[in-house]
Amino acid sequence: MQFISYLINGISLGSVYAIIALGYTMVYGIAKMLNFAHGDIIMVGSYVVYIAVSSLGLNPILSVVISAILCLVLGVVIEKVAYKPLRHASKLAVLITAIGVSYFLQNMALLIFGANTKSFTSVVPAVSLKLGSLTITAETIVTIVACVIIMICLTLFINKTKAGHAMQAVSEDQDAAQLMGINVNATISLTFAIGSALAAVAGVLLCSAYPSLTPYTGAMPGIKAFVAAVFGGIGSIPGALIGGILLGVIEILSKAYISSQLSDAIVFGVLIVVLVVKPTGILGKVIQEKV
């Protein structure tokens, strides 16, 4: 029974990673860049909710919505200001810029909120579900449900809407998409908007479960979600889901059964093994190089 409990916690944590990984994978697939600052959007989203709930006394759900909208705008602004000028630059240049944006967000938060750990009040009521000897918190359920809903909505969006098709086209071939009349700028902005809004949601869910918030809270989950995205095959939406869930499960099980200090090492170790065996990730596409 303990195992099931850990497993569910793992799936819940994994759901958060999956939501974050989605943002990474979408931006990578469509804008062809590693948005290193994505993890820090999570942190921003959490701080917005924190301020809204504790200082402004707003309703938690409303706060989450406000946070998602603000992060959405932030994501689009960052893209326009920092990434768009480098769209034709080398991937390394964009990565360094993203690192700069990450530092910027962290230090802005440090300036505004200070380094003290803030205690985050969960947006989910503190109730639990009892199934036999198993206790599942509402947070866990909400997180997993949120992840499932987001995945379904996103998949439907990508496959059934014009904007979604535009995203697929841009991720296949940006120049051809442009020649077909697709507004590449708008598509990329939309991608960042969705990814950032999702990051805000993920941040709130993460801090609801693990209630300490500092300017550096987003960094490690960001890295792990990135690992999850690569794990599942970067550019693949179902891959982000699988990668995220697997990562969360491995992390929780490692903490429970092996060692708390080594859990990160184990998570990363599994990634390495997977990539050595399947170099493009679990669901990744193998791109043949033309000779």
Binding site: L86, V101, M108
Partner: protein, 358 residues
């Protein structure tokens, strides 16, 4: 042939400028220090500046010369630091003189880091671009994690090792703890000096610059520029990728030795051996110019000193640093602005650009 001589002189001249730059800076700094013109804050930065310079040059070997993005460079620094500190503590007083012991420690750190570079490189260098990057980051984190759970002690019976805790070492009461898990290593002999740091920079330069301008260096750069073409002319891709990667790792290990012997306490934290450090070095390399060895040192020094010089602005300095970073990347990648700047550069830059690997 005069043509050959021209080429030889150009490369040699460029390298000599780089060596001279380091030596001149050393002389100036020593003069300033002996004249009392250097604050203790700045004095404390001298060895770290050497550490970062070596890290930047060695990372440039992987990123700029081999053309592979490594985000785990700090991991090799960590290995060099901990293996050498352990060695120094174990042999302190046994091997004399201290200078010789330190030299051995440097070799220990370099060799262990290099071996890990080889072991990690074998599976990792087969991966493509972004995947390679994330795996190197993963390895860096793993190394840091593992070092934090190592317990090493010595007593009259010999050396004891554990990954659980200090008690399970089962040592005598008079036993000495060398590595204390997350508390790391304390009491490493502080052998590092600015002079030694400069010497190590010069050695690093010697190795990297000479490697680049040699048959192996050409092979490595050929792999970077066009792997398929390199294969088609008979270059052993795996051999040269591993060579570049492990030499880069070994040199990072040397930086780690210098770092470890500059502190009384050596611990593996996210900020000194985690991806934060790896990324900081990467920023030095990119801003100094990919493939530009001299630039790596300049960038490492300037960017390390920049936050210190901005100390007056206190809370805002990291913010300014990040803005400077973003702005620099945007400006240096903007066609219009770069073309305007190029008009002010000496004429020879405008012609078919000759091969530059400084």
């Amino acid at each position: 042939m005069t043509v050959m001589k021209k080429k030889l002189n150009k490369t040699t001249k460029s390298n000599l400028i780089t060596y001279a730059m380091v030596v001149i800076v050393y002389i100036i700094v020593q003069l300033l220090v002996s004249g009392g013109a250097v604050s203790s804050l700045m004095k404390g930065l001298l060895v770290p500046l050497c550490v970062y310079s070596i890290l930047a040059v060695s990372l440039n070997l992987t990123v700029g010369i081999l053309g592979e993005l490594s985000l785990g460079h700090a991991g090799f620094m960590c290995i060099g630091a901990f293996t050498s500190a352990t060695f120094s503590k174990l042999t302190n007083g046994v091997i004399q003189p201290a200078g010789f012991r330190f030299l051995l420690a440097i070799l220990v750190g370099a060799v262990f880091a290099g071996i890990f570079g080889l072991l990690i490189g074998i599976p990792v260098l087969r991966l493509k671009g972004d995947y390679l990057a994330i795996v190197t980051l993963a390895f860096g984190e793993i190394i840091k994690n593992i070092v934090n759970v190592i317990y090493l002690g010595r007593d009259s019976h010999g050396i004891h090792f554990s990954i659980k805790d200090a008690a399970s070492l089962g040592m005598d009461a008079e036993g000495e703890m060398i590595i204390k898990g997350p508390q790391g290593i304390t009491g490493t002999p502080t052998d590092s000096t600015f002079t030694i740091g400069i010497v190590l920079i010069l050695v690093t330069l010697f190795i990297v610059l000479n490697l680049v301008h040699s048959r192996s260096g050409r092979a490595i750069m050929a792999i970077r520029d066009n792997r398929i073409a390199a294969e088609s002319v008979g270059i052993n891709i795996t051999k040269y990728k591993l060579m570049a990667f492990s030499i880069s790792a070994a040199l990072a290990g040397v930086a780690g030795v210098l770092y470890a012997h500059n502190l009384s306490t050596l611990t593996a934290l996210p900020k000194n051996f985690g991806y934060n450090m790896s990324i900081m070095i990467l920023v030095f390399v990119v801003l100094g110019g990919i493939g530009n060895i001299r630039g790596s040192i300049i960038a490492a020094v300037l960017l390390t000193m920049l936050p210190e010089l901005l100390r007056g602005l206190n809370d805002f300095r990291m913010l300014i640093y990040s803005v400077v970073l973003i702005a620099t990347m945007i400006i240096t990648n903007n066609e219009k602005i770069m073309n305007t700047i190029r008009r002010f550069l000496p004429k020879k830059q405008a012609q078919p650009v000759k091969e530059e690997t400084k």
